[in-house]
Symmetry: none
């Protein structure tokens, strides 16, 4: 913990205290295996739920379309269409008013056909469909199309089903730069993390960037940023170092427990969850985190929050997904799929934050 | 209220009386904030439901396909496919016999995939797919295709997911002119309102035109027609002035309460509803209003109605959507989506106007 300020220590104490349900004295605040285990096995869900509840807006008849969140997912190519759909539909199911997808032409018709609720823009292009001499003009057109909408979005999700086509990733880099100029938060997952790991300056020092790596994506980030291997003996400290190493972006490290840090505060969510590891759950998470970040930012405009909006958004998104996954697994067992989990998002949110409490 | 005829005053008294459930004397008929509030908070649903009931046709084994309504939605482009689907399927779910969609080629396959119930015509074109020298001939072909069907339609819905492509909007202007020549009612929403606000003569003075603006669309209409800002202190009077300013078209101003005027009568529907503001609810409304207008016109051919068919159609469509939205919200809470509301249209209509009452 060398080099950590007293304020950081106090914040971490607060978080850890809430998470494990008892006070941890300063002298015990070393991130040892024992502490990690106590977080994982003993972590109380109450803190995460209270965060979710504190940022979820009350519903009110005087509000109009858009005020509960406008989210956009950048992803979806010739190969992948499910991931951007999962992310975008999850945002709506949690309570966003509008959910857009920016994807390739090949992907658009398919994603549209999954649900009439999404607004799908077929604007991205992959190298195979673009001549070299046209790349510049097409690239300019892509960013022009996205810019028409940028200011209206409360959060972008970059990466679900994006693929790794070099030309497409160049266009997405431009989109990320414009998002940053417009101060729009970005949640980066999947192939978006591949892009960012190879080009850290896209997010470095941007406090509204959130990375949501899984085991392998986290490993590559640690190797790139810290020039070391993942060290689970000292996992929380390494996470903090990683977040600081990318200039204070927020990292949600997904796993049996989810660990969250922006290089300052650190939190863990270990409650609920499911042993089923079907593909697509990370997409639910990215869409959910995007909505909760936009809600947390609305709150932060009105009152001081105990944590940064991005960290709160990650904690809320994590605990909600884990709750929905546990419900789905209870009902479907081994055959649980991502769509089953999405079906439980509404009920899980209702359990944490009942509409009847404030909105009827 | 200066300049209003005694007949208008009497009509408004009737409406207000029914809506708030008690008599309002002439001297109190100034549209002050207090009156607005009494309409909003005290509005009884009985009047709106009785209007819905009075125009909904009884079902009768001797009737044949088409007699309960043939609706067409003009909308659906490369970006938007959900909106025209929501509008067209809602018309069917309420009881229309046939529901068509006129959209671009890109949109058609997707809209068809949402439901085999719809008849989808891929006839519109956007600028990007048309060479300048072909525009005239394509434009002529579009109108020729629509004209084949025009006389058969009981109502057109113009605008859901239309987009704002200039060439496409030019073609839609032609469709609107032909609808008017054929005396076919038009319900205008979404990008159709963008078109009409920029070209008021398309609807000005056409008593079978209905505009269904949301907050922002209403604001632009008021600015264009009345050269002023929206004034909620005097909202009902401003709505009446706006409707008169466009030559007696019917306006359904959507919001926490829906306000309806054709420059003569004025009504409000504030019962039921939901605090969820997910995109797409306006599309349900436009499809519903189209069906109810066609039913109200059938009634008006047989007997004198207390209000114009367009106003009655708006009131019926509004109260039905609000009822379905309240059911969906009760069931799904924050995760309510537009498709959930559509699922409740049939049950809501049955509650207001049971089939068993007259049709068994």
């Amino acid at each position: 913990m060398v080099g950590f300020s007293a304020a950081v220590i106090r914040r971490q104490q607060f978080l850890l205290r809430c998470l494990v349900g008892y006070n941890i004295s300063s002298k015990n605040l070393s991130y040892t295996t024992i502490k990690m285990q106590s977080l994982v096995s003993g972590g109380s869900p109450d803190f995460a739920i209270s965060i979710l509840r504190s940022i979820t807006p009350s519903l009110d008849s005087s509000r109009h379309k858009g005020q509960a969140g406008k989210i956009a997912v950048v992803g979806g190519c010739r190969e992948y269409t499910g991931a951007p759909y999962f992310s975008a539909i999850s945002a709506l199911k949690i309570g966003a008013d509008l959910s857009h997808v920016f994807c390739t032409k090949d992907a658009a018709a398919v994603i549209k056909s999954y649900s009439p609720e999404l607004i799908v823009h077929p604007i991205l292009e992959e190298s195979y469909s673009v001549r070299d001499e046209d790349k510049k003009s097409i690239s300019a057109k892509v960013i022009e199309e996205v810019d028409k909408w940028m200011e209206r979005f409360d959060c972008l999700v970059i990466g679900p089903g994006l693929g790794r086509d070099p030309f497409l990733l160049d266009c997405v880099s431009d989109i990320m730069k414009h998002a940053r100029q417009s101060n729009v938060p970005v949640v980066i997952d999947g192939d978006g993390l591949f892009l960012v790991t190879n080009c850290l300056e896209l997010v470095s020092g941007y406090p509204l960037a959130v990375l949501t790596p899984n085991v392998n994506e986290y490993k590559r980030l640690v190797q790139k940023v810290l020039q070391s291997e993942v060290n689970d003996q000292n996992g929380t400290q390494q996470l903090v170092s990683l977040a600081k190493g990318i200039g204070g972006v927020t990292i949600l490290r997904k796993g049996g427990s989810d660990f969250i840090s922006n290089g300052d505060a650190v939190g863990a969510v270990s409650a609920f969850g499911s042993p089923r590891r079907c593909g697509g759950q990370g997409d639910i998470l990215s869409g959910s985190v995007a909505v909760f970040i936009s809600w947390a930012r609305q709150c932060s405009a009105k009152r001081e929050l105990s944590l940064s909006p991005t960290v709160m958004g990650c904690i809320a998104g994590s605990v909600l997904l884990r709750k929905a996954a546990s419900h789905a697994f209870e009902s479907k067992g081994r055959s649980t799929l991502t769509t089953d989990i999405i079906d439980y998002l509404g009920r899980s949110l209702e359990e944490f934050c009942p509409v009847t409490r404030r909105d009827k």
